[in-house]
Symmetry: C2
Subunit: 199 residues, 2 copies
């Protein structure tokens, strides 16, 4: 049986798309923020609060509003949202193989003792800026500033909930540089690892 | 044409063996410390000094002798040895595809603008201690102390010559956890990346 696959990623690295393609290739469910939040809604959890949560967005909003103080940037609501997402992640992972993007799923599963293939996708900044600018309008300088802020937000978010550094290779089974390897090869290597890994 | 493949690794992760098998599988030359030092000898470089050099050993000796002061642990001789090894690495990489283990080859090739597939092999400490104890005699406590010292030595060595952190995923195209994936799959994934990577 394929393992549960978690994908952590840098913004603009294409990790979300790679995750979708891996799930499609293996024929297993795919979970991202949107799907996890929808599932949380179904449990009756305050939808509005859930939708406000975003590894990057909410932190960025706080940056912008000057309410971003290191160590104090995540309040009780964030913890509740994280707890709800965690529950959905654990519920799905217990059902069987799936691909989960983001949400510190690697750490959540490790803590729960559920075996998973943990993947990290990163890329050169230049590549990530180009990818990001395809999706969002803005000057080169604006895009660069935003990407760097999202990077910071994700790093803080990950560290806050895991006490580990995002991107430290020792936390993952497989780290791939999508700008060097290309999207297709990244998908191929993860699929191959999922098929062959003895779990 | 296959790329030049560099393999950085944690002690006891099996990275050396994985590198040998990748080279064998692709039918390309394999270079490790011993081979690089032999090549340096042939250029007339002081063999005795070269043989004394070791990313881990010489630093460990300094630890043991109490001569290990952070920031001051590598003298002029080390720099000369590193320069000689660098020359051999560059010479071989320019000739064509090969696998180079250790010696900060990833950084040396990047600096020289020579494209390479940069791989980092790591593993859980438990796995590494078991691997290491197969090769060296000692109590469990001694082996653990030694492995941790070698880790420190390699980290210092790598940082001294590259200004980067050993094991930071952003420095590599591919990071693999050999204790999670197994040696065979690590070899397979690197070979696949070497064949498919568009370089």
């Amino acid at each position: 049986m394929y393992p549960v696959i978690t994908i952590s990623r840098e913004v603009g690295s294409g990790g979300h798309t790679i995750g979708e393609k891996v799930a499609l290739s293996l024929g297993i469910p795919f979970l991202d923020k949107g799907i996890i939040n929808e599932a949380a809604k179904a449990t009756g959890f305050d939808i509005e609060a859930v939708e406000k949560n975003d590894e990057s967005g909410s932190l960025l909003a706080k940056y912008r509003n000057g309410r971003f103080t290191q160590g104090l940037y995540l309040g009780d609501d964030q913890d509740k949202i994280f707890a709800a997402q965690k529950e959905i992640i654990l519920e799905n992972a217990k059902k069987g193989p799936c691909v989960i993007v983001g949400r510190c799923a690697d750490h959540i599963l490790k803590e729960a003792g559920i075996p998973s293939l943990n993947v990290y996708i990163h890329a050169d900044l230049e590549y990530r800026l180009e990818e990001y600018s395809k999706r969002y309008q803005g000057t080169e300088a604006e895009i660069k500033k935003l990407v760097k802020k999202i990077d910071k937000g994700r790093r803080f978010f990950y560290h806050y909930y895991t006490d580990q550094e995002l991107g430290d290779s020792s936390n993952y089974d497989l780290c791939l540089c999508s700008s060097a390897l290309g999207e297709e090869l990244c998908v191929d290597l993860i699929v191959r690892a999922a098929i062959k890994a003895d779990r």
